[in-house]
Symmetry: D2
Subunit: 422 residues, 4 copies
């Protein structure tokens, strides 16, 4: 394998054809592992080696089961299944054998629940690498992330003798919904990292630019609340029911009224509500899907606590059983200046990069959970944005990005390793 | 004292001048006791002899204190104060010394919080016996009830040798708001009664008619809920508050949504809501005054339980302390046929009565609490309506009733005693 | 064709195999029409001859389209399609050519959305006439109703020369959800009827009994409310959205708080609520499925008006567009004494009937809409219950009824015609 | 009159004795006018010369009437009453007769609804100048503001020949609740001002410091909503009522759920809610007192519009009449750099001032309404804080401030005039 655009494009297009949604990236994980194995210098960690089951967020067994069945149909290398157990994703560990720092890099691998456009001008259609998995598409660019991760692994393999310390390449499942990072962080697999780096391709930045220090990552928690009531005939005996739908409606009105936090931005949204079985039956089942956000973790925690308190109060007031489930989370994070400066220097050395831009992120990304974990253990972290022209917005059916930037991505990561471990 | 209309009118007008609100009928109780004492054949019970403090409903100490101060100004006979202790009302017990049945009669003695009209054509103004206690008025006719009770006592005194068994005449405080009966019932003072009778003057019936068997007494519970929160500046730190006003508003929306009972009529009304200290402060205090009703005790109990559950759920959801207080209660009651027939017979023997009418009460009266207590102990009970023309609706400032019917009232009660104990 | 149990059972079992849900009874309607045509003495009315499109309730085009496709697969006689147009159901008119009264009979023809049990002891399984349409089943006995209607038509054909006046046999679509009657009533097709009769098989009555005069038909209106908002990102720009989910939740809390009606029983239930597209998007679509009921039409109308008022207020308060749709309705109805007496007499002449029972219906049936229409035009109406043993409750997968009662049903209807038109 | 601390202290203590609440500062206005008249160089504008009645906020006629009666008792100079008409406050206009700039200065004159402490160590008690108007107290320091205004007027009178252009000294009523400024701004009386200055004494700053450029003035609107329903007996005929209390409770739950604004800080608080007449009556009257705030006028306007929309929607949904009243308002304002620099220079020239501090105001002040009006007409504006030690927090019964700073205040304003008009 040569580390060139042709190889990177090949990888990207292969992964683009087989998009898999969060926690069901079985084919994807196996394929990554196949390539890593070929490189010959990585220990490959999987399953509970890298996942703490207690912190797994937003994983639906039915989705996973269907994903696994599909992965087998797509011809995954089933030898990895034992090692994975229930969980997708892997961590490739390179140990130089020499003393030195430990650097953790993180690439997310899941797709989005979107059906790819059939527009014949869409390049994946033209070139024949569109999604074969209807309803799913790599329309957020994580196929590019996997590729940059593999490219960086290839660079390590080719430069293994010049490096000191260790590198841990995290191929993370389930970034969409900010679900996957918490379980990897809690496994402790990167607790020994001195440096952490991750990035997103495209986003708001065009080809030729890098945003080395995006500001305003929002803390967020994604929560499901479910109420379970007692049915009764709405005409004959309404007093015998415990009304889950009515409970849920009142919960919504209370949740949206959580007091604003005086110290900074807070958010609440119940985005989905499904309740009830029939017009003439007191409803027994209701589900709310909601999220809170905060300018920082303190504010986000305040919002989360209020949600939990309201969920419980409603359950008591209406005599309905309930559960709450945290199905996703991300935190705020500030990049460390040392790494920002390094990324800026390296980026500006790339012929394709002509400017370093400023940007307020104002959204959430669960790489922050891993970055903050490293910072909390005394390390330094960065999350940057790698500019790339795109044909449509992220998560849209027409999304595609400028593949030329894949090589820039690999160059920045390998540049970082050279400076930190060279 | 002669048992004639002149005496009865004298009494009624005296009590009309000194109206006292529920639980503060100190002047009234003392005056009743003075008259009973003069009759020479009654044991007079007061205070905790007739009141179980645990079941005292809707008594506000500040109102009581002000009432007592007024009563002294009005020249009450203060010798009764020791016996009363904290509680107004009294029970006059006549014991014939001969074996026989026990009959309990009940007359309520409190006034309404209404300011009497200054219309010069209003008879109390014309004849100079209008309320001297501004803001309070006997505009429900309880001055007439007291009078009929005293008239019946006078009849007993005059006929003491002809009677067997015992009579217990209950002068009950705080009927308005259905507050006083529960504590008297719970004291056990009429648990030995074989018969119980009570009545209301006027109501929906004109002079010349008696409603011997009004139907549809509603069970009701009157409840106050108070929430206590934590203040915070609404601009600077809204998240530090626990919002009692917001809690109360949500409580109202939940309370009015309590499911209808499939087996019969139910009611809920939050009639008063007061909350908040200032526009720019997260509110710390809120009070709801509400009532529930039911076609029967079972339905009313269902409504009450739902209220209590909601009150608690809200407290938890909003992190506010709370209390609930039952400030009044009445139950449904069915008159016993034996007494209905007796009252009809006696009534039709009165020259002033020309018809027995039918009526659905569809409201609440706490005499039912006493009546049901007697029924539950194996006795029989009746509540009837004594027709009397009126000048305005009950509780209105222009209310007055036909005093000629006072003698009819005494005749019905004395007729009952003659038939049951003669 | 002989009018005997063998013929009736044959019909019932044929219709049982091909259950079709409300407004999609294409196969069923065509098959009924085929049989009626063979009898040779009926004019067959269909489509807008019997349906006023403005009053069609609860018809979903997608369900109809699928139903029609299935009906073709089942081999319906497609010659009727033109006449039907968009609407199922038919009315068979018999005109004796002699002066006389007009009698309207009504039989409902739709099935229930239930999958029939696979229990081998279930007779339709044993005898091989179970539903071939998965997810749908005649588990309310309307297959029996169709059969009795056809049997009565056969009797008319056999007795055509002895009859005077007219008979109109209404085969009504979409009774489930009380959806179909309003459109037929509004077409005016039975406005000239002097008598109206309809019935339900089994229900609460066993073989051998008839309930000639069930009481307490509840008025009901089934309503859908849909809110249409404006999306916005819940993190970045919540203020730009118009939140349909939040509007819907507040609507629910207001709807359940509609004041009880002082004059009698009222009901409200929002039984289904679906809202929202994603956790992090201000929701744009919400649907509420609800019903109100009342002891009589006045109370039901009060409830309906309150619902409409609340739906509108919410739309204004939240800046969301909305629509309301009445998807079903039934009214209260009192049977006319003349017909009750006739049915009782005729029923007791049947060897299989041993008693006439009393019953409070306490539910809703849209035959009342047709019966009240006839009454409002000066005619007389009856709805009765024809007892029949059943193996499980109506709408359950194990439901089956005693086919022996089909002949009793035909005998009662033909008896009525003999008495009224003979 | 000498312009010295003795004169200033005399004035401050005189005004401290006669505190008057917003819109009822009759004694105060007359007394200010008396002093201004004596100075001989001011035209005194009053009533509708300076007040646009359409923009008068939060004025209660009963409070005004009582205030006027009191003012007469306190011996106000009643000759000013005609000129005042219904409105308190005055503007003193000094015209040098020479061409030049126009400078507007603003001093607020109302007190707070607080009863002054009786602590004998409280200096107003010790020195005998405590409030004689129970329930009211200058506990926000506006007595000091009046004094600085009069001192500045005295300085103008003494330096009248050296000045060019014009000075307009605004003595504004009703700052508490941010009620008075809107009507003065809307009168246009300071539309010709090139410069505007106002200040607060003490607040968060101690003696010796000046905050020349406080940041983060919040826009705010104070709103009352009143609902008027229809009474009905809660037991007998709840359906006949239109429930104002229930409407108000639902309004609260909707108001607190107004979506956060994505562009910056927003606030909502319903601080007071009073509703209902009695437990057993469907409530007919309800009042909500609330405020919204925004980081800027755009956000505050968004909040206000949402409130108005919700108020209307509720009125329609519940069939209750309603009104909304804007009872107060303030806007955000940025000080102009030229004036900030001037105030800093002048302040640091005062022997008593040793530092210029920075501060985020994070609250609302209606001087901003006047300042923004001047800015919108092309002028420049400043609002600064004059440090002064205090004995307790503003609005507390024990509040008092360091009178020595009054002379500093006058010096800053006269310094400004010297620099701008000298």
């Amino acid at each position: 394998m040569n580390l060139d655009l042709s190889q990177l494009t090949h990888w990207r297009r292969e992964f683009h054809r087989f998009p898999e949604t969060g926690w069901s990236e079985f084919w994807t994980t196996a394929r990554i592992a196949d390539y890593l194995e070929k490189l010959g210098c990585f220990e490959i960690l999987m399953g509970e080696q890298i996942i703490n089951p207690e912190f797994v967020r937003g994983r639906k067994q039915a989705v996973v089961d269907k994903g696994l069945a599909n992965a087998k149909v797509y011809g995954m290398n089933e030898k990895w299944l034992d090692k994975m157990g229930d969980y997708t994703g892997c961590v490739a560990v390179f140990d130089s054998g020499k003393p030195g720092k430990t650097v953790a890099l993180r690439f997310d691998i899941d797709c989005v629940n979107v059906t790819e456009t059939t527009d014949p001008n869409h390049i994946p259609n033209k070139e024949g690498f569109a999604s074969i998995n209807e309803g799913f598409m790599h329309s957020c660019g994580h196929d590019g992330h996997i590729t940059i991760g593999l490219g960086t692994a290839l660079w390590i393999a080719q430069n293994r003798d010049k490096l000191t310390g260790k590198v841990k390449i995290v191929f993370q499942p389930a970034e969409e919904g900010t679900r996957g990072a918490a379980a990897i962080a809690a496994s402790g697999v990167i607790d020994d990292a001195d440096y952490f780096a991750s990035s997103h391709i495209s986003f708001c930045a065009n080809s030729g630019t890098v945003i080395a220090n995006p500001r305003n990552f929002l803390s967020t928690t994604k929560i499901d609340i479910r109420y379970h009531g007692k049915p009764a005939h709405a005409g004959a005996a309404p007093h015998l029911g415990c009304n889950a739908l009515l409970a849920a409606a009142h919960a919504v009105t209370q949740l949206h009224g959580i007091a604003r936090h005086g110290e900074g931005m807070s958010r609440i949204n119940v985005g989905v509500l499904k309740a009830g079985e029939g017009r003439n039956v007191i409803s027994t089942e209701a589900e709310l899907q909601l999220e809170v956000r905060g300018e920082n973790k303190k504010i986000n925690d305040y919002m989360t606590e209020q949600v939990m308190q309201i969920a419980k109060g409603i359950s008591i007031g209406f005599g309905v059983a309930y559960e709450t489930e945290i199905v996703g989370e991300a935190v705020d994070m500030n990049n460390d200046a040392e790494l920002v400066q390094l990324v800026e220097e390296i980026a500006l050395q790339q012929p394709q990069i002509h400017s370093i831009d400023d940007y307020a992120f104002n959204a959430s990304e669960d790489a922050t959970v891993l970055g903050r974990r490293v910072q909390d253990h005394g390390g330094k972290a960065i999350y940057f944005i790698l500019g790339a022209d795109r044909t449509a917005g992220h998560h849209e059916a027409e999304f595609d990005f400028d593949e030329n930037q894949l090589i820039t991505g690999v160059n920045i990561y390998s540049g970082l390793l050279q400076r930190l471990l060279g």
